[in-house]
């Protein structure tokens, strides 16, 4: 049995692991098999993480966080949690290969998953012109025409990135203004390859074997028109990844895990949550890291208050 197990390997999970390891709780961090490092693994330059005035590549930042956690004794497991039982004093966590781990405290930091448009053909055309990863797939659209759907920082970053390859990048956005930060907006507005398609929602994905275009609907007038495209990148936001704990942990109306006040405490004793999975608002690498710190300190406080005999059980692994 472990004292603390951390689920998730984004900035929240790794920061929690750094703190828990430095507190000598020998945390096990279950990082996922193919998404270890989380969302930042699919980004390029991170310019708003303090301490890196020249910027740092998202994957490099996550590798450094992992190394920092391991340096202090965190154990990283590249597998996926498939089920959890958080009800008792001893929490049970089962992973993809069937192994089950036990822990006195669990920090849940599973982040969020890309939101889909929810259109027919979306799954069928994924990988055939429809993509969620500009850094992976931009390369295949040299001298092509693509569109990105969305109006946030991710959409602007990906739009700018895609102009390295594509001749033309449309940004299709439901409203007539962006929620992206000013610096990201200004870059996109200044990029001659980017054209904004305002007040427009994607109504249909066109194409049989591969995407040939989209139908867009004007959100003001309701008028529909087709936009021929070679590729469509979707960056319309994320939903908290909570499917593992439905029915066990309370959620907020926004779908994030409910925590008490400014803490990381969920409705279950010994279960803490951190990062994007509790945050419907800010969702930054830095806020997630801060949230991971809160969770580790809350878990430390919880474990320290347990009877010595209970804690001692967890030291025998």
């Amino acid at each position: 049995m472990r004292q603390v197990i951390i689920i998730g390997s984004g900035p929240a999970g790794y920061t929690a692991a750094i703190y828990a390891a430095r507190a000598n709780f020998k945390p096990l961090l279950i990082a996922s098999s193919v998404e270890a490092g989380g969302e930042l693994m699919n980004t390029t330059d991170v310019e708003n993480f303090p301490g890196f005035p020249e910027g740092i590549m998202g994957p490099d930042l996550m590798i450094k966080m992992q190394e920092q956690a391991e340096k202090f004794g965190a154990e990283i497991l590249l597998d996926d949690v498939t089920s959890l039982d958080l009800s008792g004093e001893v929490k049970k966590i089962t992973i993809g290969n069937g192994d089950t781990f036990e822990a006195l405290a669990v920090i849940f930091a599973t982040g969020s998953a890309y939101r889909k448009l929810g259109l027919p053909n979306e799954d069928r055309l994924s990988g055939h012109g429809v993509s969620w990863c500009a850094t992976c797939d931009g390369f295949f659209f040299r001298q092509k025409t693509v569109a990105i759907v969305g109006g946030g920082d991710s959409a602007m970053e990906e739009a700018n990135f895609l102009t390295r390859f594509a001749d033309k990048v449309y940004v299709v956005h439901r409203k007539d203004s962006l929620r992206a930060s000013k610096i990201m907006q200004d870059r996109a507005f200044a990029n001659p390859k980017i054209e904004f398609v305002w007040n427009s929602a994607v109504d249909a994905l066109l194409g049989d074997d591969a995407l040939t275009g989209i139908t867009i609907e004007d959100t003001v007038t309701g008028v529909k028109r087709d936009l021929p495209l070679d590729g469509l990148f979707i960056a319309i936001g994320n939903d908290p990844r909570t499917h593992l704990i439905h029915g066990q942990l309370d959620l907020t109306p926004e779908g994030t895990i409910a925590v008490k006040g400014r803490s990381s405490k969920t409705n279950l004793s010994g279960v803490f949550a951190a990062g994007d999975v509790i945050d419907p608002t800010y969702r930054q690498a830095v806020t997630a890291a801060g949230s991971g710190t809160v969770a580790a300190l809350d878990a430390e406080h919880f474990l320290s208050a347990l009877p010595v005999a209970v804690l001692a059980q967890a030291e025998i692994q």
Binding site: S32, S33, V34, N42, D80, G96, C136
Partner: protein, 108 residues
């Protein structure tokens, strides 16, 4: 990083299309994070099922002809070839059990 053997534009016909055994081709690139994540999983599947299926990787950056021929627009893309034809396509990095389920017809 993946240890599966590499194929190229030059060797694709001989190593993949002419093979009597099913061959999974992992279309990947150095700059693709999910590709790096799925590589070791494919290595493991090859280790456990090498008698039933071959697994090779094709770097799309260095081998654009084959990537274009098979209309790769998203990676990682894994295509199983049998008798020179694509018989199965898997798009995106997935956990090992999910890829094994996708490959059940070949390794089941």
């Amino acid at each position: 990083m993946s240890t599966a053997p590499a194929v190229t534009d030059a060797t694709f016909a001989a190593q993949v299309l002419a093979s009597s055994k099913p061959v999974l081709v992992d279309f990947w690139a150095e700059w693709c994070g999910p590709c790096r994540a799925v590589g070791p999983i494919l290595d493991q599947i090859l280790l456990e099922n090498g008698d039933k299926i071959d697994i090779v990787k094709l770097n799309v950056d260095e081998n654009p002809q084959t990537a274009a021929l098979y209309q790769i627009t998203s990676i990682p893309a894994m295509k199983v070839f049998q008798n020179g034809e694509v018989v199965k396509t898997i798009i995106g990095a997935k956990p090992k059990p999910a890829i094994e389920a996708d490959l059940a017809a070949f390794i089941g």
